[in-house]
């Protein structure tokens, strides 16, 4: 599903965020990505969502070389990737319905068609009754779940999450991870970046560890 081949990323100014990173996430796999802040987790995710291009090496999604994707095609790549952020990136002046419907409207759905899927997605994250609310009226955990609903509303084959539990207490964090497990069971590949080692160790999923831009461990997390 996601394949990195000797990928390096050097930012202008000389800071090397990733150094010859290689790994392969199989379709339907759920993988954690960990490392201290500045280790290159965010850069790695940004390479997958094409917010950055690698300096060297090759990033493949589903066998497609991202180097061959032109600037104008990037939006279509992002429609296949559900992205979840630590700060959830919701539009504060729009209702939950409008926020979650956004990816569908962009793909050309009418609001009537979108509404059904939005309801289903919100139902899945347990916010079926909050359609008309604004993000400010929800708690942090609920806002994060709205962000997840937006990421899964068009059923992407790939989910990326950047510190999805960063601002949440352990109980809420676990609930969020359980949500990801549900989507993973339905066949979605999931890649979650987090520095919450306690959370990972309890779950025993495959874990990629980065340190100073290098991949130092690929397997079960060590305590």
């Amino acid at each position: 599903m996601i394949k990195f081949e000797q990928v390096s990323k050097t930012y202008p100014g000389g800071f090397q965020a990733l150094n010859q990173v290689s790994f392969h996430v199989e379709p339907g796999e759920m993988v954690f990505l960990t490392g201290h802040s500045g280790a290159g987790k965010s850069t790695l995710l940004r390479l997958i969502s094409m917010m950055e291009r690698p300096t060297a090496g090759r990033v493949m999604i589903n066998g497609h070389d991202l180097r061959k994707i032109g600037r104008r095609e990037i939006p279509y790549v992002r429609r296949d990737i559900g992205m979840i952020f630590q700060d959830h990136r919701l539009l504060m002046d729009k209702t939950i319905l409008d926020n979650v419907a956004l990816p569908l409207l962009i793909e050309g759905y009418s609001m009537q068609e979108a509404r059904k899927r939005v309801s289903a997605a919100l139902e899945k994250v347990g916010l079926g009754d909050k359609l008309r609310h604004y993000p400010m009226m929800l708690s942090g955990g609920e806002q994060q779940r709205v962000g997840i609903a937006r990421a899964i509303v068009n059923k992407p084959p790939l989910l990326l999450a950047d510190e999805p539990t960063g601002n949440l207490d352990p109980k809420l964090s676990l609930e969020i991870i359980r949500l990801f497990e549900d989507f993973n069971r339905l066949g979605t590949s999931v890649l979650i970046a987090t520095h919450d080692l306690g959370l990972i160790s309890r779950l025993r999923y495959r874990t990629l560890s980065l340190k100073d831009g290098r991949m130092i461990n690929d397997g079960l997390a060590e305590n």
């Binding site: 917010m51 279509y76 992002r78 429609r79 296949d80 992205m83 919701l90 956004l102």
Partner: protein
């Protein structure tokens, strides 16, 4: 449409959409975005009203100048005597010969009308008008020649054409001398040309400034929605999808700005008209300013909309692409 996952039965395709429906939906979406951006303008009326007013008032000046030029043209056309050619005929012609010559001239395509002032009438007029009555009585014979006043046809009234007509009339056997006050006519035409050129230059400058002002306003709109644009790009919006509402904002600026231009031009012409009426009364003529016709108003409106669209297009093309998700 899925670029990476061929087999992914996704998006709009899953909700079986025919080509026709897709076409209809494209316009429905456009209409929705147009109305949405109008709603945005209504929600923040002050900032958008300023831009619309600038757009409208900037177009008012060229529009008013255009009306002035148009009316000067009508005035110019009204002054036929300006290009009236006076022919002084040889004195040895008989009345019969003069009548034949007059007839011949009036049949020419270059000439609209010929008036014959015979020498006796001319003398009588001169005696009445000049105050030399007694002195003239003492003359043994009439010193005046027969005179023909030739009005050129409409397409022969420009200074160059009427000068050419003058030269050909001068060649006639019956004509002693032909006169045309071309110099005055040329000055008048040059003056009109000056006003027209000034109008064009001014119109061009103001149109450019309208484009820049609209572009700048749209640029500010874009940067105030920076976060929203980023989120939209993250969930897969194309640049053109993000640009469309801003372009519609530009169109709305044009629509309302055009209306403001109509209104302001009408007020300005009404204001000038009272002054013009005053002048024309002093000249004992019945002249009043002709405002914009319906066609001209439509052209003005389309121009305003076009400028709004162009300004917003320039802004979105540069600034929407520049916003990359962080």
């Amino acid at each position: 449409m899925s670029l990476l996952f061929r087999s992914r039965n996704q998006g709009a395709q899953q909700v079986k959409i025919s080509g026709f429906r897709r076409f209809v939906m494209f316009w429905v979406h456009n209409a929705q975005q147009a109305i949405a951006s109008l709603g945005e303008l209504v929600r923040y009326p002050f900032a958008s009203m300023m831009t619309m007013a600038v757009l409208g008032l900037s177009l008012t000046l060229p529009a008013t100048l255009y009306v002035v030029v148009k009316n000067t043209d009508t005035v110019g056309a009204n002054w036929q005597q300006a290009s009236e050619i006076t022919l002084f005929l040889r004195k040895d012609l008989s009345a019969q010969e003069v009548a034949t010559f007059t007839k011949r001239l009036s049949l020419s395509a270059a000439i609209e009308n010929v008036t014959w002032i015979d020498r006796d009438t001319g003398l009588a007029e001169f005696r009445d008008a000049s105050g030399f009555g007694d002195a003239l009585n003492s003359l043994s014979e009439n010193p005046l020649p027969d005179v023909l006043l030739v009005t050129p046809a409409a397409d022969q009234r420009s200074p160059a054409a009427s000068r050419q007509l003058l030269a050909s009339l001068q060649q006639e056997r019956e004509v002693e001398e032909a006169r045309l006050d071309v110099a005055w006519l040329e000055k008048f035409a040059a003056l009109i040309q000056l006003v027209r050129d000034g109008f064009l230059a001014l119109a061009l400058l103001l149109c450019v400034s309208v484009v820049l002002i609209v572009g700048n306003t749209i640029r500010l709109n874009i940067s105030s929605k920076r976060d929203e644009i980023m989120v939209m790009k993250l969930v897969g919006a194309t640049d053109s999808y993000i640009q469309r509402p801003f372009m519609y904002t530009g169109v709305w600026y044009g629509i309302v700005g055009g209306l403001i231009a109509w209104l302001a031009t009408a007020v300005l012409i009404w204001w000038l008209d009272s002054a013009v009426r005053n002048i024309s009364q002093l000249y004992e003529s019945q002249f009043s300013l002709q405002g914009l016709t319906l066609n001209e108003m439509m052209v003005l409106w389309l121009l305003a909309i076009g400028l709004g669209l162009l300004g917003s297009y320039l802004a979105v093309r540069k600034h929407v692409a520049a916003i990359e998700p962080q």
